[in-house]
Symmetry: C2
Subunit: 173 residues, 2 copies
Amino acid sequence: MLGALSVEPMSGYAIRQAITETLGHFWSESFGQIYPTLARLEAEGLVRRDAAGQTSGSTFRLTAAGRRRLVHLLREPIPAAPPRNGTLLRLFFGGLLGPKECTEVVHEVRDAARRRLDQLTAIHAEVAAEARDDVGARYRLMTVSSGLHAARASLAWAEETLDALREMDAVDR
Amino acid sequence: MLGALSVEPMSGYAIRQAITETLGHFWSESFGQIYPTLARLEAEGLVRRDAAGQTSGSTFRLTAAGRRRLVHLLREPIPAAPPRNGTLLRLFFGGLLGPKECTEVVHEVRDAARRRLDQLTAIHAEVAAEARDDVGARYRLMTVSSGLHAARASLAWAEETLDALREMDAVDR
DNA sequence: CCGAGCATGTAACACGTTACATGATTGC
DNA sequence: GCAATCATGTAACGTGTTACATGCTCGG
């Protein structure tokens, strides 16, 4: 949230939008998280609320202390969440389902990877164009590239695995 | 947990071990989760507890209903956790840190990817050998392969990104 | 006998989501 | 005027982790 506000001042609602739209590939926050946090950040003096005169809603902007805090937070590692990949868990016990049903599972992975690849390829082109003038865009480009690498890996794995499943199915009968 | 018990009957402690050791690359469970769940599964008649005579601890085994339930659970998709990649988040706002500090961050990603690649390569060889006789091992191999693809992608991205950061650092000065 | 590992369990806590409630604004 | 969207907030709920408490067992 501090990061979002470092780009430009905005409402809590807009922060949520910015996060889902721009960071959606690797981060997420819900309203139930955003508003209480915003209140806390205000109390800590890290953001300031411009209570709008007549229009509804308020605009939050980063204070100097907020910016310092953001930089400080970016310096230290963010603890990784424990791994949880439902697809792999299902596949691990695939012997209980058989090749047919596993094929469906991997099929969905492949399709999702393809969609993601298309999306990210488009975004990559956009951000790459921005990156010529805007230094910040070069860093954003790295995160897009990470998604691209991951999507390509996912796609390659899915295709390899579908081949293996086809072979197992052929031997079965 | 039902999956672990489908391989062979074991204690709650051993379930935890099996999960961290064997599924560690894509799944995790803590004791605080395991024991209450085990009690619930017992109440639902999905597992049976062989209260050992003199030795401490008990052995849990899957009942017929438990096996049916496992197959049923494997059939339906496991909801994906919302994405949270701390490294990418930090890099996205990399402009606030500069190329030097970002290099450290990506460096760690690269090293972690290399270690993982080595680990998984060894495991892959092992499981591939088992897969000749054991059909179940073929499914397990797929999950290892997924990890390999992901690790290679992570490594390739890290190296590409380190190059980009080197260039940005060179231009900076 | 003692330390390491096996084994079970609970309580407190943190985190995050979903759903709900409420109202303003804007474009058609 | 009405629907969609902007906007803020809270309460309930579920989930999962950490830390703690407790005791057994086995090898050296």
